[in-house]
């Protein structure tokens, strides 16, 4: 009975062995990449700012004629989100295939 109770227990912080563990690892990596690029770079921008308006080394550097920070936020971040989604899908597809070979292809 105790075993059954554990089997029902769905918890992202205590994933069950097998498919779910791998799935949660992939999710955590993607979320890490999402959070660091998104909030981390803004925090660095703030830390390096020399004026109340936030100007500093990162706003003086340029890339493709954009101030670097503007390029990073307006151009690169949306692209980075797309890349993260592609990586997630590739890894989840692979992970799903590994785990479904034992049975049928019911994952689709």
């Amino acid at each position: 009975m105790e075993h059954d109770r554990e089997w029902y227990d769905v918890n992202i912080f205590r994933p069950r062995k097998g498919y779910m563990t791998g799935e949660v690892v992939i999710i955590l990596f993607v979320l890490l990449g999402w959070a660091v690029a998104n909030f981390g770079v803004q925090a660095i921008l703030w830390l390096l700012s020399e004026t109340p308006q936030g100007e500093g080394i990162l706003t003086r550097l340029t890339f493709l004629s954009f101030p670097w920070h503007f390029w990073f936020t307006a151009q690169f971040l949306p692209l980075w989100f797309i890349i993260l989604c592609i990586l997630f899908n590739i890894y989840i597809d692979r992970h799903t295939e590994q785990h479904s070979r034992r049975k049928d292809r019911s994952h689709d």
Partner: protein, 509 residues
């Protein structure tokens, strides 16, 4: 600009565009009457992506975002990031699992997962409120555009627009016109990017990919006129930026009409990949919107007519159209741009009104008031609800409480504070129960509206839970309430937990 009399050529083009959608819808219907599901027949991953993107594009994307960027520069990029980054959360945390759960509207999911009709009812009420707020922003866009097209004031524009959009919803409903989302997305993208290319060409910047060629314009703006468009914290602090961005992200992942997109594709794998395409198509527009704002600033500065802040704010939501006019684009091209914006607003309104109305007739009336209601009664009630919702929205939109993107952000904050935690814990924590979700959702509603409710007596509330950005602290607070209340009350029924473990998460072990 609004007093210049009707803009005839753009008006004709907008009319033709709307008519062509009805004709195209009818032709598609004649070809395959039964293939249309919730959002269209199955059209492959790229087509599915176009459907996700056109479902997403609204007046907030095509008009509102440009307006905020024009006013606030770098700060408004929080909207660009929030509305793209939210899709990452949606994909990794929810997309596959909701699909396996098998319920695609928020009230159905919440009601079933938490085995509580009351929780379903509350989430239906929240969904309808989200629709109303979201629609108000669309009506503001429609009102401004119609005012401009007919050369009349905002109020006349919004009444005229409301009549036309409700008429459009009713005609589509009566004729059974399905939304042709690929055609729609093609119009949106062409109408938005083509004028931008011409503008970049006329101004002498890299025009082939204007999205990536306006960097020099930002430099010119600073060098020639001392306008620092890219100053990071000129319009808001780091906290304000991050909390706005986070709120829009969790809101995206909790928005009812976005969540239901995973049901038009036949399997989970295609659903996930079409989301990637959808995000790419959305990004095409979001890479372009800042360019309009920069060009607008530059054209104004060059003409020596920089507007005072109050006038600029009034104008901001039409800045995309205004830039095209200032840049001397031909009227037919401005007409195409306007047609894109009008269609985006129209389709969003149509989708939201229909969803809100069916939620009222099905989730509230049928389930709680009269379970023996016939299909005819439900149908009639649904139609009446469309009109009633439109009237409510019109009354609020007569005196719009903010800019288009700001009003929209409130709908995102509400979704992020209520539906997002309900789905997140519903999927990832089997122990979450109905007491927890009801307490959590009610807390979320109070948090969302805490600034207008308590901000006057408690100024600190406005700092912690700003109206457009309340989910940064709000969503974690709601999750904490849900966890605490769930742990203090009995666990959810065994069959729900078994279903979650076996069907939603344990499908292969």
């Amino acid at each position: 600009m609004t007093d210049a009399g009707p803009n005839l050529i753009p008006l004709i083009i907008v009319t033709l565009a709307l008519a062509s959608f009805i004709v195209a819808g009818l032709r598609a219907r004649a070809r395959s009457a039964s293939d249309y599901g919730i959002g269209g027949r199955y059209i492959g991953r790229i087509g599915g992506g176009a459907a996700i993107a056109s479902n997403w594009m609204s007046a907030a994307s095509l008009l509102g975002m440009g307006g905020l960027l024009y006013l606030h520069g770098y700060y408004a990029l929080a909207y660009v990031i929030g509305w793209t980054g939210g899709y990452v959360l949606l994909l990794v945390l929810m997309a596959g699992q909701i699909r396996r759960f098998g319920k695609y509207t928020a009230p159905d999911f919440v009601g079933d997962r938490y085995a509580s009709p009351m929780a379903g009812l509350i989430s239906a009420g929240i969904s309808i409120t989200i629709s109303i707020i979201y629609c108000t922003a669309q009506f503001k866009g429609i009102g401004m555009l119609f005012g401009w097209l007919f050369g009349t004031g905002y109020r006349n524009g919004v009444i005229l627009g409301a009549v036309v959009v409700v008429g459009y919803v009713i005609i589509s409903g009566v004729l059974g016109v399905a939304r042709n989302q690929q055609l729609q997305y093609t119009l949106l993208i062409v109408s938005f990017i083509l004028p931008l290319m011409v503008l970049a060409y006329k101004l002498g910047y890299f025009w082939v990919l204007p999205q990536f060629g306006y960097g020099v314009a930002i430099q010119d703006l600073k060098r020639e006129f001392g306008i620092n468009f890219a100053a990071p914290f000129a319009s808001g602090s780091l906290f304000q930026w991050i909390s706005l961005c986070f709120t829009l992200m969790v809101g995206t992942a909790g928005l009812p009409h976005v969540l239901s997109r995973f049901y038009v594709v036949p399997n989970i794998r295609d659903a996930r990949w079409s989301l990637v395409w959808g995000l790419f198509f959305i990004a095409l527009i979001y890479w372009s919107a800042p360019a309009y704002a920069v060009f607008a600033r530059l054209l104004e500065a060059r003409a020596g007519m920089t507007l005072p802040p109050a006038a600029a704010e009034k104008m901001a939501d039409l800045i995309v159209i205004r830039t095209a006019v200032m840049g001397g684009l031909p009227p037919w091209m401005i007409g195409i741009l306007a047609a894109g914006a009008v269609s985006a607003a129209f389709f969003t309104v149509a989708g939201l009104l229909i969803t809100g109305a069916s939620s009222f007739s099905h989730d509230i009336y049928y389930r709680f008031i009269n379970p023996r209601a016939s299909e005819t009664t439900k149908m009639a009630l649904s139609k009446a609800a469309v009109v009633a919702l439109a009237v409510v929205v019109l009354v609020i939109a007569m005196d719009p409480p903010g800019l288009i993107a700001e009003i929209t952000a409130v709908a995102f904050a509400l979704a992020g504070n209520t539906i997002f935690p309900a789905f997140l814990l519903g999927i990832w924590w089997g122990r979450a129960n109905r007491h927890g979700v009801i307490a959590g959702m009610l807390t979320g509603v109070v948090i969302t509206f805490s600034t207008p409710l308590f901000g006057r007596f408690l100024p600190v509330v406005a700092d912690i839970f700003p109206l457009t950005s309340s989910a940064f602290f709000g969503a974690p607070a709601v999750i904490a309430v849900m966890v605490a209340v769930s742990l203090l009350t009995p666990p959810p029924p065994e069959e729900v937990r078994r279903f979650l473990a076996e069907q939603v998460h344990g499908h292969m072990d």
